[in-house]
């Protein structure tokens, strides 16, 4: 059997794939967090709960309305996005002129409530969600067998991250968003409806989390705490990438996912802390993050 650095090749590629999958979720989630933080200056602690809501929306749409995976991939983010818009309009928008800590506390509270409610309804155990029939089975890549659904997750997350990046870097709406991130008052004085831009941005960030939730449903089980397990790592990713940096969030997400996977191959004991060790080192050497701008 062939080996890579003394590791059997299938084990190496297997962990590399798991790293890429995890990295896909890290990238999608940290992207949403970065977009929200960049413009709203709110550290959205409800992000994990919104990811969980996306997965549950898909699960409930299937269970109660018979709506399958593909429509859910659009519908669940829409539903979660709309609830986020309501949260922003009725609650979050009242906190912009206060210390950023208030936004953090509000979203943290909301996350606890949402997770509590879903645990009350569904218990802590996970609910199964099957991948769509088109994406079941595995494909032989020559050097390993890859479950088709996992390959799809990597491709889908790449497409979504790239589209979001293009939206922000190349469109007029994105230019408003970037400019408002720097100086919201001036952009509003130019006639741009910045309060509406803030609302849409929060909705978009939450919708990205929900997409990740739907993509995750067939891989991990749908459970009320699926988000809080993941979100701590995602915060570390955002810090390493640089708070508010879009490209930083995406690149760092994949990079740390793969690094975590490879650590599992070479030194499994460290795999659950490697991301936090890197975060500590980055904070010491480059406090603004790998892609962040010093302010």
């Amino acid at each position: 059997m062939s080996t890579i650095f003394g590791i059997p090749a299938p084990a190496f590629y297997g962990q590399l794939l798991i790293g890429l999958i995890n990295g896909s979720f890290y990238a999608l989630l940290s992207l949403g967090l970065a977009v929200i933080f960049g413009l709203l200056r709110v550290i959205n602690f409800a992000h994990g709960a919104q990811y969980m809501l996306g997965a549950f929306a898909a699960y409930l749409l299937l269970g109660y309305a018979g709506i399958g995976y593909w429509p859910s991939l659009i519908l669940a983010p829409l539903i979660v996005g709309v609830t986020a818009v309501v949260i922003e309009r009725t609650m979050l928008s009242r906190l912009y002129n206060l210390d950023p800590l208030y936004g953090l506390l509000l979203t943290f509270g909301l996350a606890l409530i949402l997770e509590g409610v879903f645990r009350y309804w569904f218990g802590a155990a996970g609910q199964p969600y099957s991948p769509p029939s088109q994406l079941t089975g595995a494909v032989n890549l020559g050097f390993m067998f890859m479950p088709i659904y996992r390959g799809w997750v990597v491709v889908a997350s790449l497409i979504i991250c790239l589209s979001t990046w293009l939206l922000i870097e190349k469109t007029r709406l994105g230019a408003y968003l970037r400019a408002a991130t720097e100086n919201a008052t001036l952009v509003q004085a130019f006639g741009v409806n910045v309060p509406r831009l803030l609302t849409l941005t929060y909705g978009l960030g939450a919708a990205l989390a929900a997409v990740a939730g739907v993509l995750a449903a067939p891989i991990y089980q749908v459970s009320p705490l699926m988000g809080s397990n993941l979100i701590i790592i995602v915060f570390a990713v955002v810090v390493v990438g640089g708070m508010g940096s879009i490209l930083g969030a995406i690149v760092t997400g994949y990079m740390l996912g793969v690094l975590e996977g490879l650590t599992k191959v070479f030194y499994p004991e460290a795999s659950s802390i490697v991301i936090f060790v890197i975060m500590a080192i980055v904070l010491l050497i480059r406090p603004a993050g790998l892609f962040g701008r010093e302010e």
């Binding site: 230019a175 720097e182 001036l186 509003q188 006639g191 910045v194």
Partner: protein, 235 residues
């Protein structure tokens, strides 16, 4: 000269938090006029512009453009009335290219300058259109800050110290641009410390001190008022 001013400011009071910074400011600008606010640092000139624009929110008094009340408008509706703001710090965005900075403010009327006209007026901006906005020199950033408002079709330009910290040759260039804008019928409210620069373009002067208007006179009486100017400006 018609009797109803284009921009009408009556007894305008404004506050930064608890501190009362404008005390009953009166100011009129007729259509097509260039009016210059003179005064020392801290006299309230920038504050007056920010209060007119609505960036400073806590205001009382009368503030009307073409008879329309501005005090009740949310900030993002003010630009649509035709007010265009060029801030003192220029406000060029680092995360936007020169061209993106130029295209950023939404159009408020159809008769704004076309991008081609703007690039003719400011050839440097065309050359550097793909550069990061803040990589421009100070003078170029000032040109860009003015140019992006010209594209929107705004009819009243609020211009805060456009010559501050710039080399004489650039100051001259900005003066030429303002004269050209006047010829196009643009109404300009200019805040300026440099009254040698301002006298070339201003039809009227207002003199501010401690958040109040203390004098106003037509441009040709600048020399007659020089004693008071020296006293108030401390030059």
């Amino acid at each position: 000269m018609s009797n109803t001013p284009l921009l009408e400011v009556r007894g305008l009071n404004a506050w930064y938090g608890e501190s009362h910074v404008l005390h009953g400011v009166d100011l009129d600008i007729q259509e097509g006029e260039t009016v210059t606010l003179l005064g020392r640092n801290g006299a309230g000139k920038t504050t007056t512009l920010r209060a007119i624009m609505g960036i400073l929110r806590r205001r009382e008094g009368v503030l009307r453009l073409r008879g329309q009340d501005l005090l009740g408008l949310p900030l993002h509706r003010v630009a649509q009335t035709g007010l265009g703001y060029v801030p003192e710090e220029r406000g060029i965005f680092a995360s936007l290219s020169v061209a993106e900075n130029l295209m950023l403010p939404p159009k408020v009327a159809e008769n704004g300058m076309s991008v081609e006209e703007i690039y003719q007026l400011f050839p440097n901006l065309h050359e550097r259109r793909t550069s990061q906005g803040t990589k421009l020199s100070g003078g170029e950033q000032q040109m860009l800050a003015i140019a992006r408002i010209l594209r929107t079709g705004a009819t009243v330009l609020l211009l805060d110290e456009p010559t501050e910290g710039l080399a004489p040759v650039i100051v001259q260039r900005i003066g030429d641009v303002l004269v050209a804008l006047k010829k196009r019928g643009m109404t300009i409210l200019l805040v300026e410390q440099n009254f040698r620069f301002a006298r070339k373009v201003a039809d009227r002067f207002y003199l501010m001190e401690d958040g109040r208007m203390v004098n106003s006179f037509p441009g040709h009486q600048l020399d007659a008022n020089m004693d008071q100017l020296h006293e108030v400006l401390g030059v």
